[in-house]
Amino acid sequence: MSAEQLAEVSDQFVVAAVLLYVVAMVAFATDLAFGRVRPGRAVAKAAARQPVAVGAAAPPPGADVLPESASVPATPEPPRFAAVAGTAGLVLAWVGWVANLSAIVTRGLAVDRWPWGNMYEFVVAICFAAVSAFLITQVRHDVRFLGGFVMVTAALGLGLASKVFYTAAGPVVPALDSYWIAIHVSAAIIASGLLTLAGVTGILYLVRGDGPSRLPSRADLERVAHRAIVFAFPLWTFAVIAGALWADRAWGRYWGWDPKEVWSFITWVAYAAYLHAKATAGWKGRAATIVQLVAFGCLLFNLIGVNIFIDGLHSYADVD
């Protein structure tokens, strides 16, 4: 296949991944809406509110128009199709993951370099990393409840990438033509994927009340988010330091307070504050989750805001 054809195939894989993620999301949402209710700390009172809250975070078609009375069966026995839908969601998510991976690989073949040289490629890769983080976690722990939300996030991310950040396949400027891109950007991608998972979980934490819910208990949610961050933080640290090493090769200094550097630093400090808040200052639950989400906001701003609104040395994003 020629490079142009490969690039086109890559674009089609992205579309396929979006569609698959959306269908998977509907399946996960069905599972969540009709599946087992899990007790919270304070029993019963918030029960009727839950489906609405779920709908607010991720409006699966139909879920937000569920009549309130119908949504919470009094008996704990969920209908069979709920579990089937959950499994279908997982299968679809894996297929979408393969499509996402294929999009990245074909793009890489088309441009004959590491396929994360601009914002479009970078966001596609982060979505892939976030879905991977979810699916890999799912292999060992039951975090199916996260599925719908991760799928929405990934579908929106890929959609945003194709609609707003799209960049035709092509070579990169000489500054990016370096093996450092494999080290620095890959680390940033994996860390961002994990932190996205943590961010989604953090939002669910805030949405979920203390009552019974189809979501796992707040303590469980907090644990999932914490684990993801514990993995991501050293990676992020590494990504920033690798960036500094690259800057030392490319720009003549390892740290110069370029806007991207400033915001990676802010993000890093914010996640460090989260870890300190949890480990040493003994903040739990809501407070820690809010710190985590502020940090996640910094991460997103660094990714989107800095690339688009502020220009600096890092403006390779190629977004017009």
Partner: protein, 519 residues
């Protein structure tokens, strides 16, 4: 956690706060975790304006523009040192406080840690079944044998009458301490670099040379401890500069590769060697790095004055006006021309193509059809003798500009000059010839003795933070007797319980595996 316990123990009594008491109180408040957290937040918050307001060290031209367009705002920015956030007094105050707090945190923690390292694990509790993880099995297992197996699993073990107590995961605290010390190391390395290092920028045209002396730089930024003699005495000439551009497709005109071919003398006595300087691949001479950071065109002109003398001949570096096509603006000043000084405003088009309206524009950044458009020619006093520094990119100060007499305007020379062509000035005042094209590059030379220490500290920080976050501190207890073995376990750090269930099951399996070793 140990630090918290420590803090609690040391909370000062309300009564009798003498000056020493207040000092103590201040120190304790500063070194408490809450203060450190607040300082961390402040540090993050304080960096925000550094990314929103242009910084003098990074974008001096933008700072100047704010001064021009909105002097009051600029003054306010300046009052709060917002143009130099990262070297400002208040930013320094935040990080110095933070690092003091950090030191105050590290010292007692290290002491506690050293004590713990020497201490044996505590005696096993009576009822192991009350622990978060517990199991029991039938069988005979001697205390010594249990201890041996636990030791083989790299536990630190102490034994007593019918019990074994084991602990593992000390590296967690090691990691934590090393991480924080490494952060201090990074700060010190950066500090050393800014005191003893320097940076300089210089523009070099093809065929010209550069020697590493303070005077040779266009802009030199030394640390306060740098003397002119401490510059590494190397020199080089720029033989040739090559650029490769993408010629087809959507990315037509994008640069693919820059190579500057240098002849380098590592020291005045050393023989010259060839070096191909590229982006991402600096020239390194004894710890001093030279980077390729920019490039542009320097067309070559010859100006003959009204008396028939060659009053100027040379390459003129032009300012890039449009990066995509490398359309560049050039200024030629000829103060030695007679009878009057001459000045030219020109536009360089590397790939000149005619437009439908009769004008010309550049269609590609590479030089396929290099031409020079004459925008204006002037005579009169260029103001060069006033002794004040002049920009090479503007013909004259605005007030001097008004006094110049225009000789040619753009419309007088409708066709741009190709290489070898020339334009005559009216009244026999001379002529301008376009004789060739050279390229210029901009280089940055940097010497930073803090680089290596910063790198080592950073590497240590990454490894240490990974250790400190991934390793869990855990204890396992065994009680034996009357044909039963009880095992209990717990993790000692917040959020690290996940995965311990599996590990605990494995440990129980190893302990219950009879005579044969499972591991």
């Amino acid at each position: 956690m140990s630090v918290q316990e420590l803090e609690k123990k040391q909370t000062p009594q309300q009564a009798a706060l003498g000056p020493v008491g207040w000092l103590r109180w201040a120190w304790r408040t500063l070194t408490s975790m809450k203060t450190a957290l607040i300082l961390l937040f402040l540090l993050a918050l304080g960096s925000v304006p550094g990314s929103l307001v242009p910084q003098r060290g990074v974008e001096p031209d933008k700072v100047a523009r704010i001064y021009e367009q909105n002097p009051t705002l600029a003054e306010w920015y300046d009052r709060f040192q917002l143009f130099e956030v990262f070297t400002s007094v208040w930013f320094a105050a935040i990080y110095l406080l933070l690092f003091t707090s950090l030191i105050g945190c590290i010292i007692p923690r290290t002491a506690v840690y050293l004590r713990e390292l020497r201490r044996r694990p505590p005696a096993a509790p009576k009822r192991l079944s009350r622990l978060p993880h517990s199991a029991s099995f039938e069988g005979e297992l001697g205390v010594e044998e249990a201890a041996r197996r636990l030791r083989r699993m790299r536990f630190r073990v102490s034994t007593g009458d019918g019990w074994v107590s084991a602990e593992k995961g000390y590296l967690r605290e090691t990691g934590n301490l090393v991480f924080h010390v490494a952060l201090l190391g990074i700060l010190l390395a950066i500090g050393a670099g800014s005191l003893y290092g320097y940076r300089g920028n210089v523009l070099v045209v093809e065929g010209d040379g550069f020697a590493n002396t303070v005077a040779a730089y266009d802009r030199f930024m030394p640390g306060s401890q740098v003397s002119a003699e401490s510059l590494e005495p190397f020199s080089f000439t720029l033989d040739k500069f090559d650029v490769a551009y993408q010629v087809t497709g959507d990315k037509r005109g994008q640069a693919l590769d820059y190579t500057a071919h240098l002849k380098v003398n590592d020291s005045p006595q050393a023989p010259a060697r060839d070096y191909a300087l590229k982006v991402n691949d600096p020239l390194e001479i004894d710890g001093t790095q030279t980077y390729l950071i920019g490039n542009g065109y320097a067309p070559v002109f010859r100006v003959t004055d009204g008396e028939g003398q060659v009053a100027f001949e040379g390459a003129v570096p032009c300012l890039i006006e449009d990066k995509a096509t490398m359309t560049s603006g050039c200024v030629v000043k000829v103060p030695d021309a007679k009878p009057g000084q001459l000045g030219f405003l020109l536009q360089f088009l590397p790939t000149s193509v005619p437009l439908v309206d009769g004008g010309h524009a550049s269609a590609f950044p590479g030089q396929i059809n290099p031409e020079v458009q004459v925008l204006g020619a002037f005579t009169g006093d260029l103001g060069l003798r006033s002794g004040e520094p002049q920009s090479v990119y503007t013909l004259a100060e605005p007030e001097d500009m008004k006094k110049l007499k225009p000789l040619l305007m753009g419309t007088d020379v409708p066709k741009p000059l190709a290489v070898g062509q020339s334009v005559q000035l009216p009244d026999g005042l001379g002529k301008l010839e376009f004789t060739g094209v050279k390229q210029w590059i901009t280089l940055q030379t940097a010497y930073d003795p803090g680089r290596l220490p910063a790198l080592l500290s950073a590497a240590a920080a990454v490894v240490a933070i990974a250790l400190s976050l991934m390793i869990r501190r855990r204890r396992v207890f065994v009680r034996v007797g009357e044909g039963r073995v009880e095992v209990g376990g717990l993790t000692r750090t917040e959020g690290s319980a996940a995965g311990f269930t599996e590990e605990f099951a494995e440990i129980v399996q190893v302990l219950s595996a009879g005579d044969k070793d499972v591991r």
